[in-house]
């Protein structure tokens, strides 16, 4: 029976072409959306590297567009003033807070080699940040007063960066530089390694990360975002008291206070919205394809009613006819899907989308899409098939 159906399908391939194209298109659409979703799911499960619960951020706006430098005294007064509030457990400073839309990145390389540049994201951080964000080091230590007066700028890097910059070696104690060509603008020395760190949150792809130690007055930019670890259960109106306390320190500055949970919410929203938009467009196109498929299958079956009548006259039962139609549809879908997969597998093979379409995501999306498309084509074949198998052979043979 299988070979018989194969012969039939192949001989009618030009008529089936349009149908196959629609199925192929539908598969590609579903694949894109499921791959997108699966990738996000994959990213979500990866380690984040920090704990953002009960952390608040305060962006200090001194109205000078960042051009002046704050000195030690300013930072001390901020730390002490805020630390006195009973809700605050620890204080740290960074260039910007996790989940923020800002990025600072650069190309770094090992000293001496004018070759391989490693792209990495950077964040200025002070000695108190590790405690606030719950950063855990797997090698070495976080920044501390021991680093004062160090010739090279101390850095803490994540494992991904360690493997990128020093493959196969121990990163602790090593150095690297930044600067174009042979010119060196700064030298960095690794004092600690964290397992993972993704500043942009759970849905961001893993990147190389470098924390650079921030010392007031010594770097070309200030780290003006204060990060506070507050006691669990701190109410939202703590912001008012925090603001009032900050105003006591410097009245002419303004402070943008936000719990990290709401920064996280905006970041998640901005990542999920493209997925939703793509999903809606995909749903629309899928609906179109479903209509087209249903209509074409209906027509196909209607045209074949005399043939169906003949088969019934020759002894096929209604169930057999029905199964034949479904099997043919299955076959057609399989051919279209196989073709689609052949085209789509080029993407992970050539690495066109990088790690965003790794083999795990690919196989998962392929499986899910196959299930959806088989279901879709099955549903579209069911009604016409059922109608056709209900006719008596005479009615079918003389169908006009």
């Amino acid at each position: 029976m299988f070979r018989h159906l194969l012969k039939l399908t192949w001989k009618r391939k030009s008529r089936n072409l349009m149908l196959s194209l629609e199925i192929l298109l539908a598969f590609a659409i579903v694949f894109a959306v499921t791959a997108f979703g699966l990738r996000y799911a994959q990213l979500y499960r990866m380690p984040l590297g920090f704990d953002g619960t009960d952390v608040w951020s305060v962006a200090v706006q001194a109205g000078d567009n960042g051009n002046r430098r704050f000195d030690d005294a300013v930072y001390d007064s901020l730390r002490r003033g805020v630390g006195e509030l009973p809700e605050v457990s620890s204080v740290g400073f960074a260039a910007f807070e996790p989940y923020a839309m800002s990025t600072s990145s650069s190309d770094l390389r090992r000293d001496g080699e004018s070759g391989k540049q490693v792209r990495t994201e950077l964040l200025d951080a002070d000695d108190g940040l590790a405690r606030v964000l719950g950063l855990e080091l797997v090698e070495g230590r976080w920044f501390s007063a021991l680093d004062n007066g160090s010739a090279q700028r101390p850095v803490v890097i994540n494992r991904r960066m360690a493997q990128a910059m020093f493959p196969g070696e121990r990163a602790l104690g090593q150095q690297f530089v930044d600067g174009k060509g042979t010119h060196v603008s700064s030298t960095y020395r690794v004092v600690g390694v964290v397992d993972a760190f993704r500043a942009k949150g759970e849905l961001a792809a893993p990147v190389n990360f470098v924390f650079t130690r921030f010392e007031p007055g010594k770097n070309d930019r200030d780290a003006r975002t204060m990060l506070l670890k507050v006691k669990p259960g701190t109410a939202r109106d703590f912001e008012r008291r925090l603001n009032a306390r900050l105003k006591l320190i410097r009245n002419d500055w303004s402070y943008q206070i936000e719990p990290l949970s709401s920064t996280r919410a905006s970041m998640m929203k901005s990542r999920i919205i493209p997925l939703i938009v793509v999903g809606i467009i995909a749903a629309f196109m899928l609906l179109m394809v479903a209509f087209g498929l249903f209509g074409a299958l209906w027509q196909n079956t209607t045209q074949r009613i005399p043939e169906i009548g003949l088969r019934r006259a020759l002894g096929a039962s209604a169930g057999q006819i029905y199964r034949q139609i479904v099997a043919e549809q299955f076959m057609l879908s399989s051919i279209a899907i196989a073709l689609a997969l052949l085209l789509l597998v080029q993407l992970p093979l050539t690495g066109a989308l990088g790690d965003n379409l790794n083999w795990q995501v690919f196989t998962g999306a392929a499986m899910l899409s196959m299930a959806v498309i088989y279901l879709l084509s099955l549903l579209c074949a069911v009604y016409p098939g059922w109608r056709a198998s209900r006719l008596s052979p005479t009615e079918a043979l003389h169908y006009e």
């Binding site: 000078d64 939202r236 500055w253 943008q256 179109m288 087209g292 074409a296 003949l310």
Partner: protein, 415 residues
Amino acid sequence: MFRNYLLTAWKVFMRRKLFTAINLLCIVLTLVVLMVIASLLETAFHPSGVEGRSDRFLQVFTIRMDGHEDGHRSTSPLGYKLIEKYLKPMPGVERVAAVTLPASVSVYQGPNVSELQMRHADADYWKVLDFRLLAGRLPTAADDAAGRMIAVLNASSARRLFPGAPKAAIGQRIDVGGQMFEVVGVVEDAMHLNAYADIWAPISTFTSSDYRNELTGMFVALVMAERSADIARIRDQVAQIARGVVADDPKEWKRIYFWADGKLDLFARILTNSDDVPDSGAGKLLAGITVAMIVFMLLPALNLVNLNTGRIMERRSEIGVRKAFGATSSQLAVQLVIENVLLCLAGGLIALLATAGVLAWLESADLIPYLKVELNLAVFGWGMLIATVFGLLSGVLPAWKMSRLDPVHALKGAI
């Protein structure tokens, strides 16, 4: 003869009700999506209401500074100094307004903290945009000069902070990020490029006056002409001014660019990244949108062509009989095309009603806050035109195929 075509078309539709329904649904769905998007774009580029005077004012959104090294560049909103020193004194314009981009602020009310979007604007802003005042008054130049701590709220925020209609909010005091303001006016909610915000205060209420000294900052300039015919001249004027601007640090920055654009040009400039040339890329943007719409219509069009071709095959014997009795190919082709066009027009009308419904839902669903979008006649006209063209095109190929059927084969009709 035409009546004949119509009658036959009706009979054909009724004979195959399910097919007709599927076809119709396909067309309606496509047209609804296209018309909704067109309405949204129309609202964005040619607004009425708050920014209804858009044909009479331009906005300057970003200043770009190029350094001496390749790749060293800065792109940011304007600083107040740029507006005050170079744009406000411009001759031949009615007024130049300065307003900041919306920023998040916290409003403290006892134990409650509300997050609102805040803009700082000068008195000219309220003359350029056309807000509907629900209670109280709008800020004036006198308020700016005196540096009064006053604020204007929009209706939703007023209701949120002070229950009891807009009137109850007037005269109340609110704590915005540590500063105390008095509410002097309540305006209607608005969502548009320069209008969107929950609370406004005069620029002079900034905690520190450092903003006055920078060429870059968080401001946007709105340049209003006396007549809409002056727009082209003002664009050139602003481009000329940009050439004469001296950077604060000429050693770091070599060239400075900024442009006064209408809404369409502004979006085009941002999307095509063309900050350094006068041409905003609006032509490219419109072409891109048109191509996208055509591609979008391709799938339903293919569906229709497919279904029509199938229908022809079904009606083979009918066609054969007609031909045998003297109908010409062109008459049969016209029949088919008319059927198609009728279907598409019917679909267009249904789509129109559906679009109105979808737009009403969008307004109430609050996905985009304070959204107000209308279906105007232009979009409707274009929609019907597209539907007709759709019908013509998707009927042509099957009609051509059908005209090549000779009666003998059509009548014989094997399985």
